[in-house]
């Protein structure tokens, strides 16, 4: 549809200041050379509902975004359409420090949320590499941060949601109580649904007290067998482990370890780790593994070291392993050193270890969900979104 026609349609219900054709988004993050014809910035949930209803009426696909930092991970490069951003819906709706809960609009940025909570010594434990990521985007993607081992992913903090259904109905599910089994747990379905089942407008989060202390330690060695030995052993320690990561530079391996918890018990743990393994005080700057990077492996903890060893042992694998988040099970490869033969070999290694390999956005390892899985998802999509308005070519609905 032509730009002018689109604007005409949405202008019937929305103020012109909400309709942006001169796109201010970072196009690179969209992962396509394409520029959206139109970006809608609703200023209220009502505006958003109006936009979705118009889109249904005129069969115009909509692409919900927050700050668009996660957009390209789940959408096949597209060729046209209208983005709808929750960026301007960014207020705190209800904050209950004594309940350790906060309800915010979906467009609130993670760092703004943290600031609001920090004055009460509270935090939202899911970190994001993108500081401008919105809470709505994080929830839609069920994001996890470097410390997933300790804090898991976004879904574990979502107690309730308000969202606009693909047909433009306002739905509220869950609530502000830490326990809730009233009806289907629709919040959990929408969390990690990548925007295809509804546009999240408000999120009620369970938050936590900031830990008394955070400590970083590191360990450097040139001996690869030492690395896997230490990893295997650390995973068996009774410690307040938040993350364990590594990076290979030249011939050296750097292991970084983070602990979070109470001052006194952390002191004991730190002393033990220093004595037993030779860990030293670490720097504040932590190794970040991008779970959507170009060549990424995800492994169960119990096969992680095995995976490292087998890849190191492959012919021409020198320098291939770049870095990893051990506690998240991730290994990031240096994709420039990959060739087809190596990719095939690594795929087979990872398959045998029950892991996942994604290379250039393609999952190369097998996935055994059963054919009913995608079928039931597609059913669901058709029932809640009969006109396929929300992200029709989403990768999460691909067979």
């Amino acid at each position: 549809m032509e730009k002018n026609k689109l604007i005409e349609i949405f202008k019937t219900a929305l103020k012109e200041e909400m309709l942006e054709t001169n796109v201010e988004h970072n196009i690179d993050l969209l992962g396509s050379e394409y520029k959206p014809d139109l970006v809608i910035y609703p200023q209220s949930v009502d505006d958003l509902i109006k936009a979705v209803r118009l889109a249904n009426e005129h069969k115009i696909p909509l692409y919900p975004i927050g700050s668009s930092s996660k957009f390209k991970s789940a959408v096949a490069p597209f060729t046209g359409g209208v983005l709808i951003s929750t960026k301007r819906l960014n207020k705190i709706i209800e904050y209950r420090p004594d309940n350790m809960s906060i309800e915010v609009e979906a467009g609130m940025k993670i760092n703004e949320l943290q600031e609001a909570l920090a004055k009460d010594n509270i935090f939202y434990p899911v970190e994001d590499r993108f500081t401008n990521a919105t809470i709505g985007g994080q929830v839609a993607a069920n994001s996890y941060g470097r410390k997933k081992y300790m804090y898991k992913s976004a879904r574990f903090y979502v107690m309730g949601l308000e969202f606009v259904s693909p047909q433009g109905e306002l739905v509220r599910v869950g609530g502000r109580t830490v326990k809730n089994v009233s009806g289907y747990d629709v919040s959990q379905l929408l969390t990690g649904s990548w925007g295809v089942l509804g546009i999240i407008t408000k999120v009620t989060l369970r938050v936590r007290p900031i830990p008394q202390k955070r400590t970083q330690l590191e360990y450097i060695t040139e001996d690869f067998s030492k690395v896997t030995e230490v990893i295997d052993s650390i995973l068996k320690e009774q410690i307040s482990l938040a993350s364990l990561t590594f990076r290979k530079t030249d011939k050296k391996y750097l292991l970084q370890l983070e602990l979070e918890g109470f001052v006194e018990s952390l002191e004991l743990q730190v002393n033990n780790l220093k004595d037993k393994y030779g860990f030293k005080d670490g720097s504040k700057s932590q190794i970040e593994v991008n779970n959507y990077s170009e060549a990424i492996i995800s492994l169960p903890l119990d096969t992680y070291c095995q995976g490292l060893k087998e890849i190191e042992a492959l012919k021409d694998s020198q320098g291939l392993i770049y870095q990893g988040n051990i506690t998240n099970g991730l290994v990031e490869l240096n994709s420039q050193l990959l060739n087809q033969e190596l990719v095939n070999k690594i795929t087979s290694v990872v398959n045998d270890l029950q892991g996942t390999l994604v290379y250039q956005g393609q999952r190369l390892t097998k996935k055994e969900r059963g054919t009913g899985y995608i079928k039931v998802l597609k059913n669901l999509k058709s029932v809640v979104d009969p006109h396929h308005i929300l992200i029709p070519q989403s990768l999460v609905l691909k067979e």
Binding site: V171, S182, R363, R369, G370, V376, N379
Partner: protein
């Protein structure tokens, strides 16, 4: 009554010894732990996923409803089934397939009893954190279907927080595998969690991959008594706001304290308004700091008496009051209704007071035990079912409790489920478009409405 033809086909699938349809057996399977009655046509005991697939296909062919059932401890009428339903009991489908100490996971079949998993995990220094009161008998499948909570829920969360993946037989008869061990690196919609708390209406869980939690080396147990509910409520709020996350934080009101004291003679002050039972766990250095914080909160909120267990015997003594609750209250009247309301934790004291007022207004006995750390209250209303007037009054009082819960920003069920029992309250808790969205979920999984029909959605 199911036709003989169907019974014979069921026998072929699971073996004759695993199909029951005598009148007496049907009567015993007509109820769960709620007051609701079903009228099952047959009970079958499959022991493999393949058998369940065959049962579902048969049920689909002959248009027979099915209801999955674990140990039947469901409190909301979710496991009784509609007339002539095939009850699929998972009780014999009960092996622990794997415990992995590095991944800290267990792979189990749905009929595994919660307690058995606890015992199996213990030698690895691990526990399965959700511990519903029914854990000695209730099954993992049932726990998942209801998203069961437990005493340790304050710190460790409910069942869904410990489920990593599932194998499910869909109403179509197809088998799917959800979730898994690996961190997500390619975008995918994880269907695991919509099955948690779905009360067996979207499919039958046939395997569960669960996360296990390290057992902490040190536990400290305390009780504190308060002269007013306000003080007790403020104490709970202060503890939460201080950042102390207890393992357990239970509150007993005056009605319960009196009943327990009359029943078990533990030396509790019968005029106290509330008793809080509190437990913390962690490394020894941590529990020490937590206990200090908690005692400060007791003092700040005028606790008239508090105790800290010095050893295991004293710990068991402190737990006695909580454990005696059901026995003590059962003596008051022949029948009771237990509610399962939840409010934001900062509204706990207000809600306890409101329920006490409702008891006064209707001149009935309501005992209140609450998982204070979760804001989850279990007011129990006592009556004599043989006196019709009493039953009517109870119904009215229940309606008022639910209304007040919603006014306080809470919801109608925290861990027991909707089932048949709370159907009528669903429109109070949710708007029509929200209920419609839930109905669409059901429709897309089970278009013929054959899998545990009649419950959860009005």
């Amino acid at each position: 009554m199911l036709k003989n033809e169907i019974i014979n086909k069921l026998r072929k699938i699971v073996g004759s010894e695993n199909v029951l349809n005598s009148k007496i057996t049907m009567t015993t399977y007509a109820y769960d732990s709620s007051p609701f009655l079903g009228k099952p046509g047959a009970v079958v005991f499959p022991t493999t996923t393949e058998m369940i697939v065959e049962i579902i296909k048969l049920a689909n062919k002959y248009n027979i409803p099915v209801t999955p059932r674990g140990a039947g401890t469901c409190l909301c009428g979710g496991a009784v089934g509609v007339e002539d339903a095939i009850i699929i009991s998972l009780a014999k489908f009960n092996r622990i397939l794997e415990i992995n100490a590095v991944n800290r996971t267990a792979l189990v079949e749905p009929g595994v009893v919660n307690k058995e998993l606890q015992l199996a995990a213990e030698p690895y220094g691990l526990m399965y954190a959700p511990d519903p009161a029914s854990q000695n008998v209730s099954t993992i499948g049932g726990n998942i279907a209801e998203n069961a909570g437990g005493i340790r829920g304050v710190k460790y969360g409910c069942t869904k927080e410990h489920v990593l993946g599932l194998e499910v037989v869909l109403p179509s008869g197809e088998v799917i595998t959800t979730g898994g061990l690996n961190s997500q690196v390619d975008p995918e919609i994880d269907l695991t969690y919509i099955f948690c708390g779905a009360e067996g209406t979207l499919g039958l869980v046939t395997k569960a991959l669960l996360s296990l939690t390290p057992i902490n080396s040190d536990t400290k147990t305390m009780t504190a008594v308060f002269a007013t509910l306000e003080d007790a409520g403020a104490c709970v709020s202060e503890i939460i706001a201080k950042g102390v996350i207890p393992t357990t934080m239970e509150i007993l009101d005056n009605t319960v304290i009196k009943a327990v004291e009359d029943y078990a003679k533990l030396g509790l002050p019968k005029d106290a308004a509330a008793l809080i039972l509190l437990e913390v766990d962690g490394f020894p250095a941590e529990t020490k700091a937590m206990v200090e914080n908690i005692i400060q909160a007791f003092k700040n909120n005028n606790s008239i008496n508090y105790k800290i267990a010095k050893d295991e015997k004293e710990r068991q003594d402190l737990w006695k009051a909580r454990r005696a609750v059901n026995g003590a209250l059962g003596k008051l009247k022949p029948s009771n209704v237990v509610h399962d309301i939840v409010v934001p934790r900062d509204r706990l004291a207000v809600m306890l007071k409101k329920v006490a007022k409702i008891a006064e207004k209707y001149d009935i006995i309501i005992g209140q035990v609450a998982h204070a750390g979760d804001g989850n209250l279990h007011p129990t209303l006592y009556y004599d079912h043989r006196i019709p007037k009493e039953a009517d009054v109870i119904e009215e009082a229940c309606d008022e409790i639910i209304k007040e819960t919603i006014n306080e920003g809470g919801t109608i069920s925290g861990e027991h489920g909707i089932g048949l029992e709370k159907l009528k309250y669903m429109p109070l808790a949710f708007s029509q478009p929200s209920l419609d969205y839930m109905k669409k979920i059901k429709e897309s999984f089970d278009p013929e409405n054959r899998t545990n029909p009649g419950i959860l959605l009005p």
